[in-house]
């Protein structure tokens, strides 16, 4: 959607590394839902040659960038409530259709934030009991229904591992998610466990293992991730 900005890797924030890596997973013509926060950054790093449809679960297929100053429409926002545009050929959908598409397997990919992911590939991302109970919003439907679920999150939270043997926070779904993308690693949950696929830019395998609370399967060759 936006132009690729060429930046020296050294100045990239962890979130930018994650967003640029996730952008490489998106394929031409897909229907993609980006969660609010970090996941929404992914749209900025898609090459202009890749045309995808972004769904905002609050009611539009064909979500576009921020509108020009003074042209915001109070009836057109994303799931975070921020003003957006609609691309030519966009479709308005009500919430029943929106979640019908999600639950019915029509959504190719969702990119969500995470609080914990465990060795089974299960995600917890909607509450911290007694502390933060925002509600699951659309997250449970997205994880249960999307063809592909990518968890985009910083690798650990203030020194506490977020990739853990078994989630201690309430689960979002018992479905094994597709891929974990952090600033340190790309990890794929498999039948055998969590498989380390790629290293972050300049990151060693030792650094990844030290920041990870779960067991990782480490193949002989773990290439450095390529960024969009």
């Amino acid at each position: 959607m936006a132009m690729i900005e060429e930046m020296p890797k050294a100045v990239m924030s962890p979130k930018e590394v994650i967003a640029r890596r996730v952008a490489r997973e998106i394929r031409e013509g897909q229907l993609v839902n980006l969660g609010i926060g970090l996941p929404s950054m992914v749209a900025n790093f898609l090459p202009p040659t890749v045309h995808v449809f972004f769904q905002a679960e609050n009611g539009v297929i064909g979500l576009g960038a921020r509108p020009p100053e003074g042209m915001e429409d109070p009836n057109l926002t994303d799931a975070g409530g921020g003003f957006v545009t609609a691309v030519p050929g966009a479709a308005s959908i009500d919430s029943a259709m929106s979640f019908g598409l999600i639950r019915g397997g029509h959504l190719d990919m969702t990119v969500l934030g995470g609080l914990q992911v465990d060795e089974r590939g299960y995600l917890a991302n909607w509450m911290v009991p007694g502390k933060m109970v925002p509600g699951m919003g659309g997250a449970m439907d997205l994880v249960a229904g999307a063809k592909s679920v990518i968890v985009a999150m910083v690798h650990s939270a203030k020194g506490t591992a977020k990739i853990v043997p078994e989630c201690t926070l309430p689960l979002t779904a018992v479905r094994r998610i597709t891929l974990i993308v952090t600033e340190l690693a790309v990890i794929e949950p498999t039948d055998e466990g969590l498989l380390l696929r790629e290293r972050g830019p300049g990151v060693s395998i030792e650094e990844i293992l030290a920041a990870t609370g779960a067991k990782l399967i480490v193949p002989e060759n773990v290439p450095e991730m390529e960024l969009m």
Binding site: N75, G81, D94, A96, G135, G137, G138
Partner: protein
């Protein structure tokens, strides 16, 4: 022909303790004038079914701030710290429902289905205490229908018969809620003559709408 009534007159229809389905997503597509009239009338003990409680001072958030709500059924309250604080203090009871399940439960209430069978929430806190129904070997949660005493919906445009059109992301829960309440009060931005909305443009047939809020002053 519908009767156009003032927000105050519409609020008079609603008794203490009523269950209200209220359209909107973070106050986008919410019936703002209707909400203001409820706050002015101070009818309390309400049950509000809505996607979210918006933010303090915005949309449904005003009902929360005013202390008129006893129970909330929503998918998300994360952007309204007042709702969260009142939930923790016990002043407001909150039932959190996955968004797709919430809208589909309301639809089931509106279209006369006995409930819905969804895989969303299987294996999570959401499934606790609920009946699990197996269909061809796969488990689904049986989630019950939701209906309201009143549906308060926002629309872009209504005609004199109450046929409704919605705009962009202001659709959200409105067309579904308009099917699922004993009394449906619509708050349109515009009211136009019969025939201005063509049959193929009608998203909510006027036959399900009971009252239109009169045009804004």
């Amino acid at each position: 022909m519908k009767k156009a009534i003032s927000p105050a007159a519409a609020a008079e229809l609603i008794p203490e303790g009523a269950t209200l389905l209220i359209g909107g997503f973070m106050a986008v597509g919410s019936p703002i004038r209707m909400i203001d009239a409820l706050v002015a009338r101070k009818i309390g003990n309400l049950t509000v079914v809505a996607n979210d409680t918006a933010m303090p001072g915005k949309g449904i958030g005003k009902l929360i701030s005013a202390g008129l709500v006893r129970r909330v059924v929503a998918s998300h309250i994360g952007l309204n710290p007042e709702t969260q604080a009142k939930m923790i203090s016990g002043e407001v009871e909150v039932e959190l429902v996955p968004q797709g399940t919430l809208v589909e439960r309301i639809r089931a209430g509106g279209v006369g289905l006995g409930g819905i069978l969804t895989a969303t929430g299987i294996g999570t806190l959401v499934a606790e205490g609920k009946q699990i129904v197996e269909v061809d070997g796969r488990p689904y949660i049986l989630e019950k229908p939701i209906r309201g005493d009143f549906a308060l919906v926002n629309a872009q445009q209504a005609d004199y018969l109450g046929n409704l059109e919605y705009s962009l992301t202001a659709h959200n829960f409105n067309p579904i809620m308009a099917l699922a309440a004993d009394t449906v009060i619509a708050e349109p931005h515009h009211i136009v003559p019969i025939g201005v909305i063509p049959p193929d443009g009608v998203k909510t047939p006027g036959v399900v709408v009971d009252y239109l809020l009169e045009r804004a002053a």
